[in-house]
């Protein structure tokens, strides 16, 4: 049982991070805290994907080591798959980081607009103002 927990320890960390983010999005009333929760959630998913690409046993970063020109020129360089970690999760998460930056920027802009109109970022107060004014 302990061995099972240790052999998959990365997943426990990401589950905790993901649940912290989910709770912040659902349970908090401040919109900035909801946004921070969304960022924590995204970080959990990104870390999860990056950890998928890890290979134990002497694998290094996915950059070709050695004489790249010689290997490219002759074409027949035998590249050992086990000596490089999986590059695909890294590529996908590079895209995901860019998207998360874009969503965070747009969300902050929307928050500024909300604050200008209602002078608060608390969700319950905004709902109360909207009910009182009938907008």
């Amino acid at each position: 049982m302990l061995e099972y927990i240790i052999s998959k320890y990365n997943f426990w960390v990401y589950i905790i991070l993901l649940l912290i983010g989910l709770y912040a999005m659902l349970g908090k009333k401040n919109l900035v805290k909801k946004l921070i929760g969304m960022n924590i959630f995204q970080s959990a998913v990104i870390l999860f994907y990056v950890s998928i690409g890890v290979k134990k046993g002497g694998a290094t970063v996915p950059i070709f080591m050695g004489d790249a020109h010689a290997a490219h020129g002759h074409g027949q360089a035998i590249i050992d798959v086990a000596s490089y970690i999986n590059p695909l999760p890294h590529v996908l998460m590079l895209t995901a980081i860019v998207v998360s930056i874009a969503t965070t920027g747009v969300a902050l802009a929307v928050l500024i607009l909300i604050f200008r109109r209602y002078k608060t970022l608390e969700l319950d107060e905004i709902i109360k103002i909207r009910k009182d004014t009938g907008v």
């Binding site: 052999s7 998959k8 320890y9 990365n10 997943f11 426990w12 589950i15 993901l18 649940l19 989910l22 709770y23 659902l26 349970g27 950890s51 998928i52 690409g53 890890v54 290979k55 134990k56 046993g57 694998a59 996915p62 950059i63 070709f64 790249a68 290997a71 490219h72 074409g75 360089a77 590249i79 798959v81 086990a82 490089y84 999986n86 590059p87 695909l88 999760p89 890294h90 590529v91 590079l94 895209t95 860019v98 998207v99 930056i101 874009a102 969503t103 920027g105 747009v106 802009a109 929307v110 500024i112 607009l113």
Partner: protein, 94 residues
């Protein structure tokens, strides 16, 4: 509200912990993610794209159109921020 949130958290956490059983161990070289498609990329990236960095090769060559669409995403986000935050001219509604 808080009670519902905590209920959803517990339910989601239970499902995730249940799902971890199917996942490969940390750093397993034969995990599904590392054994189906990625060996092909590791072996052929240098020969086909002449780029030593495999991440760059996949991002810029194999998934070039995806990266181009990504720039469209950033552009749209930037334009959206500018349109939302700019100063309104006189006579312009709201």
């Amino acid at each position: 509200m808080k009670v519902i949130a905590i209920l959803i958290i517990v339910l989601t956490g239970g499902l995730l912990i249940y799902g971890v059983e199917e996942m490969p161990d940390w750093g397993d070289p034969n995990s599904p993610a590392s054994s189906h498609v990625s060996p092909k990329y590791i072996q052929e990236a240098l020969e086909k794209t002449a780029t030593p960095n495999m991440v760059t090769a996949v991002l810029g060559d194999y998934r070039g159109y995806d990266t181009m669409g990504e720039t469209a995403v950033i552009f749209t986000a930037g334009i959206g921020c500018i349109l939302m935050l700019r100063k309104k001219r006189k006579g312009e509604g709201d």
